[in-house]
């Protein structure tokens, strides 16, 4: 099955088998299906929180660019790569 491409309007959700826990200003994700832990640095944590809160890639990128003083284009490109990694690890579901 081919994965749908990630676009600026793409939205995501958390799979049932993934749990998140904030640890300081970072986050740890537990992927229970694979029984693996993943650490997210503060930027990754913000990206994860925005994407799983229902923001699309474009909206999340705009908020990250405001928070971290990077261009929205750069934030979006990084976020597309980040979402791709999370999808591959079974930490996100592509909703639309």
């Amino acid at each position: 099955m081919t994965e749908a491409p990630i676009e600026s309007t793409s939205t995501f959700a958390t799979p049932d088998h993934v749990l998140a826990r904030n640890v300081g200003n970072e986050a740890v994700l537990l992927q229970l299906e694979l029984e693996e832990y993943f650490g997210l640095d503060p930027v990754g944590r913000l990206g994860w929180e925005l994407l799983t809160a229902g923001h699309d890639i474009g909206g999340a990128a705009r908020l990250i660019s405001e928070e971290y003083d990077v261009s929205a284009e750069r934030a979006q490109s990084d976020l597309v790569g980040f979402a791709g990694q999370l999808l591959k690890a079974g930490l996100l579901i592509h909703v639309a």
Binding site: D16, H17, V18, L19, R21, N22, V23, G24, E26, V28, L30, L32, E33, E35, Y37, F38, G39, D41
Partner: protein, 158 residues
């Protein structure tokens, strides 16, 4: 001689029957975790929602007695190289079979960004950590969410 004294002290403190039950169950749980994985092991143990909030309150006597079971799981687990997860599953199973409401907590720590995530499992009764207090180091996952995740994976399994 020193080893014999330690074994006698352990058996006196923990009890022979508790030690035997612990050893048998620990070996079984360790093997199941290695062979079948975490969710299948929890499911097969048929203990219900092992990560959820216990509903009944426990007395000091319950907690003192529970601490002996947890100490047995820790002590025997260390000797047979069983990690905190089979130790906690074993202690939780024994306590629940004895009618003591206990739950397993799973927590994570990340000492620095360069170090890998470390995880730990322990036993809690009525909000009290039994046999250790890892809350200063480990941040526990939400128990109800863990139960839901296990249930979701169990449903998906063919």
């Amino acid at each position: 001689m020193k080893i014999v004294r330690r074994i006698i002290r352990h058996l006196t403190e923990i009890g022979v029957w508790r030690s035997v039950r612990t050893l048998v169950l620990l070996r079984q749980n360790r093997r199941s975790l290695q062979k079948n994985g975490f969710t299948a092991t929890v499911e097969a143990m048929n203990l219900g929602d092992v990560f959820g909030h216990p509903t009944t309150s426990s007395t000091k006597d319950d907690i003192d007695e529970a601490a002996k079971t947890v100490r047995a799981a820790h002590a025997i687990g260390r000797r047979i190289n069983a990690t905190c997860l089979p130790q906690s599953l074993t202690a939780c199973a024994m306590l629940r079979r004895d009618g003591v409401e206990s739950r397993i907590r799973v927590g994570v720590a990340r000492p620095s960004p360069d170090e890998p995530v470390s995880a730990h499992a322990w036993i809690e009764i009525g909000g009290t950590c039994i046999g250790e207090n890892p809350l200063g180091t480990y941040h526990p996952f939400d128990g109800e969410q863990m139960n839901q995740a296990i249930r979701a994976l169990t449903k998906e399994r063919p």
